[in-house]
């Protein structure tokens, strides 16, 4: 096997999204967080009084809750947060056409390929730059069928009743410290409503870009998939590389009504100076189907466990998680499935790759409440270790209160076998190609669930990250 020097010499982990855009925000709060800052954010958004009250209440909960002592290393987070800008407004208003977006911000998204993707394969696109959505657009075809795809602020403004009925019902502020933080300072994110029976043929996409140094981004997304509807939502995220740490803490609430199908895909590719602490949860009703496809490639530390609450008979939840932890990264990811009703089923498949000093941890919960008769759940975790210094952990929680439940968990840890490499090299591949092929094969079961372009992008990213990593 090649030595570490050989690996170092290959210049790994090139992050092509690390560029900084020279843009002047129209407003930003002073660094740090207090009630005054929360009032400023709310005032900038011209919100109703009830929302400000909720924000302030959430701030109290955030202050009262201790910093988590599990998961990743959060010992330096408070220091980071003290210097963080909690709200940075990039432009005066959100635009419906790329032509109206300020040139430098537009160029950023051009470089990220968003407008092109929109033309080719998406039903609608939202683009967030620092704290606000700068662009939001939905194809006419879907708008005429009653689909709502808007920034979260416009959701509150234009659909106040629907918004208030559901906001904070899936993830209340008191759920955890960072959900409370988001509930206090949320800004940006999407509001999505799919009317009964409407089936979106192409995905909706939201793209999150952080440009400001020492920014805290707190997007908030609320999605309601009404009875018998069908849709796919994709989010992607990148940021410049700074020497200081940035912070991202989103809250995603999804309600999947009777017989609906919803898939939420994340391709998280933050730069390696980003704390990414996200709460994502779906409430799944009778006969409905929810899928989380969660790809975590970037960030310094990610703690993120998409969950499905299976509330009514026949609800189904799936979580497919892929994590890549390169040098200095810790991906603490996984999923939670909560079975409350009879004949509910769920599956979690997690694949992780740890390289260099990277650490990937699977953390998951399968809970079956008494009365959730014939609930079925299966969890599979596979971890691939590339180097001697790589690390992986598996922390599944299995809590079963129901006799007729059937629950299984399996996990394996392996390294890329010398035999596998030797075989492929005897067929004429060089080591790097052979390694990349093995890794691609390892993630294939999840990658194939992505729309073609994204699968290609994921594979390319993995290949880039794996370049010369034969160890």
């Amino acid at each position: 096997m090649p030595t570490n020097e050989v690996i170092q010499g290959l210049g790994l982990d090139d992050y092509k999204f690390g560029f900084v855009t020279d843009s002047e925000p129209v407003f930003r709060t002073r660094p740090g967080l207090d009630a005054e800052i929360v009032r400023q954010i709310s005032a900038r958004k011209d919100e109703p009084e009830w929302m400000l009250k909720r924000r302030l209440k959430a701030l109290g909960i955030y202050d009262a809750k201790p910093m988590p002592d599990w998961g990743g290393d959060l010992s330096e987070l408070q220091e980071t947060l003290d210097q963080t800008y909690f709200y940075v407004k990039p432009q005066e208003q959100m635009e419906r056409s790329w032509d109206d977006v300020p040139e430098n911000i537009k160029q950023t998204f051009e470089r990220l390929g968003i407008p092109e993707a929109e033309r080719k394969l998406l039903a609608g696109v939202g683009a967030q730059y620092d704290s606000e959505m700068v662009y939001h657009s939905l194809k006419e075809e879907w708008e005429s069928k009653g689909v709502i795809f808007d920034s979260i602020e416009d959701g509150l403004r234009n659909h106040p009743e629907l918004f208030r009925k559901h906001f904070g019902t899936v993830i209340p502020a008191a759920d955890n410290k960072f959900a409370a933080l988001n509930s206090a300072v949320w800004s940006g994110g999407s509001f999505v409503y799919i009317p009964p029976g409407v089936e979106l043929e192409t995905p909706l996409q939201a793209y999150f870009r952080v440009n400001q140094e020492r920014l805290g981004q707190f997007e908030r997304t609320l999605i309601i998939a009404d009875e018998g509807s069908r849709a796919h939502y994709i989010e992607g995220c990148t940021a410049p590389v700074y020497s200081t740490d940035s912070f991202h803490s989103g809250v995603i609430e999804i309600i999947v009504n009777r017989d609906a199908f919803f898939r939420y895909t994340t391709i998280q590719n933050w730069s390696n100076n980003m704390y990414n602490l996200v709460t994502q949860r779906a409430r799944v009703h009778r006969g409905a189907h929810m899928e989380w496809l969660d790809g975590n490639l970037g960030s310094k530390l990610t703690m993120k466990y998409p969950s499905c609450y299976l509330m009514e008979e026949g609800a189904h939840g799936e979580i497919m998680s892929i994590a890549y932890a390169g040098d200095g990264q810790h991906q603490d990811t996984g999923g939670k499935v909560i079975h409350v009703a009879p004949n509910t089923s769920s599956s979690i498949v997690s694949k992780s790759i740890s390289k260099g000093t990277g650490r990937s941890s699977y953390r998951g919960l399968c809970k079956v409440y008494d009365g959730a008769t014939n609930a079925k759940s299966n969890v599979e975790c596979d971890a691939l270790l590339i180097n001697e210094t790589s690390r992986t952990d598996t922390f599944p929680y299995i809590e079963i209160d129901e006799r007729s439940a059937s629950v299984g968990h399996e996990a394996t840890v392996s390294k890329v076998g010398d035999e596998q490499l030797f075989y492929l090299m005897s067929r004429g591949m060089d080591e790097a190609e052979a390694m990349a092929l093995i890794v691609r094969g390892f993630i294939e079961p999840i990658a194939k669930e992505l729309p073609l372009e994204y699968a290609v992008e994921l594979n390319r990213l993995i290949e880039l990250e794996m370049e010369g990593s034969v160890g």
Binding site: W70, V368, D370, A383, L385, I386, N387, E388, S390, R391, T392, D393, T394, F395, P396, Y397, I398, E399, I400, D401, E402, R403, S404, A405, S406, V407, G408, H409, E410, A411, T412, V413, S414, K415, G471
Partner: protein, 452 residues
């Protein structure tokens, strides 16, 4: 069952410092110092709460009125060694009568060793089996260097500290190099006082290439109030040695069995454990297996059958410190009525422990609507050239197996019994030790009979 009323004049744990010097009255100086230090650790260590990950599912503050317990003080003076068994309570005598051949026996009543027997020829070969208290008094250097130091020291936590301060007696077993025992050594324990707290220790050292198996059986009557039995088990297998340790917990109602076990396996040694939990109201076992040398091997087996409102909690860890060691854990449990089973296990592959083979499996069978199973199999892997896997399942009796047996003429009850026994039997078949399988099978059958 005998009913014993607690006597009010006895010192309670809440009374604090007064307890230690009395327990230590006959000890050598080093041990008195060790006890006093352990007592300080105990006072400084808070009671584990459900906020801590390892105690999340066992709420001690609710289940164990620690301050109200009366320390068993049977050994304030070291009792006379007896070869006869005049002091052995009848139910214990009956349990002992079921045992097959033993290489040695030792009997513990309320934390005092009342009888020790060892095969003559083994004694001649240098095997030492004696009261741990006596061994300390006799100045055995191994006891001073290994007791509550390397395996279960006071610093491990609240209960290890309490035990290190207050232990009344226990077992010291040393097997010299190259000596093999042809039958197991059996420890038979009895606890008689309701509301008492008994602290016992077991220290076993198997020198290079020796072999020994040890069966630790604990019985008691039903108690009116919670009664604690706390055991610290320290097992050392030197290069190439083999130790099999079996714990059979068959206490009566009200029993709170709390064991801290640590196994240290050196190069090419085998250190296997089997924990069987059938009795008591609450059973909690903390087992840490440390693989310290290449070629070390630990099979870790567990079997539990809970009914009524029994609560069993197993907290295991497999520490692969050295490369090229092997560990394999299998814990299986059946839970009936409103019993609760908790399994939390972790495989830790330390940096540099390349070539590790470590496995972990927990399977639960739920037999009633009210039973609850919790399983937390964890992995922490810090080396890349490893083979590790874990699996956990929770399910009910397999309908097809039942149908098959019933189509062969068994009634439902018989079929269920057979399936449960088969499910749990897999564990016993992995560690066949004279008489253990039969004894455990009989106890499970009795429990199955009770329920149905």
């Amino acid at each position: 069952m005998s009913r014993v009323v607690t006597e009010p004049e006895k010192p309670r744990l809440a009374f604090g410092t007064g307890v230690v010097p009395r327990a230590g009255a006959v000890d050598p100086d080093w041990l008195r110092v060790r006890r006093a230090k352990a007592w300080d650790v105990y006072l400084d260590t808070p009671l584990p709460s459900t906020r801590s990950e390892e105690w999340r599912y066992t709420d001690l503050s609710r289940m164990l009125p620690l301050d109200a317990l009366v320390p068993a003080n049977a050994s304030l003076a070291v009792p006379a060694m007896a070869n006869g068994d005049g002091t052995v309570p009848e139910p214990l005598r009956r349990a002992m009568a079921l045992d097959r051949h033993s290489a040695g026996r030792i009997v513990d009543v309320d934390g005092a060793i009342v009888a020790v027997e060892l095969d003559e020829s083994l004694a001649r070969q240098g095997v030492v089996l004696k009261s741990l208290r006596q061994a300390a008094r006799d100045g055995d250097p191994l006891v001073e260097s290994l007791l509550a130091t390397k395996a279960v020291p006071a610093s491990e936590g609240k209960f290890p500290a309490l035990n290190a301060a207050l232990w009344t007696d226990g077992v010291f077993l040393r097997v010299p190099a190259n000596v093999h025992l042809d039958g197991p050594i059996r420890l038979s324990r009895w606890v008689s006082h309701s509301g008492s707290a008994t602290f016992t220790r077991i220290l076993i050292v198997a020198e290079n290439h020796s072999q020994v198996s040890f069966v630790d059986e604990c019985l008691s009557p039903d108690f009116e109030s919670p009664t604690l039995v706390n055991t610290a088990v320290e097992l050392f297998s030197r290069a190439g040695a083999q130790i099999q340790y079996v714990s059979l917990q068959r206490m009566g109602k009200g029993g709170f069995y709390l064991a801290n076990q640590r196994t240290l396996a050196e190069r090419d040694s085998t250190l296997d454990t089997l924990n069987v939990a059938l009795g008591g109201s609450v059973g909690r076992v903390d087992l840490n297996a440390r693989l310290l040398g290449p070629g070390a091997n630990s099979d870790m087996l567990g079997l539990y059958f809970g009914d009524h409102d029994q609560h069993f909690d197993f907290n295991t860890s497999q520490d692969h410190v050295a490369p090229h060691a092997h560990s394999d854990l299998l814990y299986k449990g059946a839970l009936d009525d409103s019993a609760r089973g908790v399994f939390r296990g972790i495989i830790r592959v330390h940096e540099g422990a390349q070539g590790t083979d470590a496995y972990q499996t927990n399977r639960n069978l739920i037999l009633s609507d009210r039973a609850v199973a919790t399983s937390l199999p964890n992995l922490e892997i810090g080396a890349d050239d490893v083979r590790c896997s874990h699996g956990a399942t929770v399910g009910q009796l397999d309908a097809e197996s039942l149908f098959y047996l019933m189509s062969r003429g068994l009634n439902r009850e018989q079929a269920e019994r057979l399936v449960v026994l088969g499910f749990l039997g897999e564990v016993l078949s992995r560690l066949p030790l004279g008489g253990v399988t039969e004894k455990v099978t009989r106890a499970i059958e009795a429990k199955l009979g009770n329920v149905r």
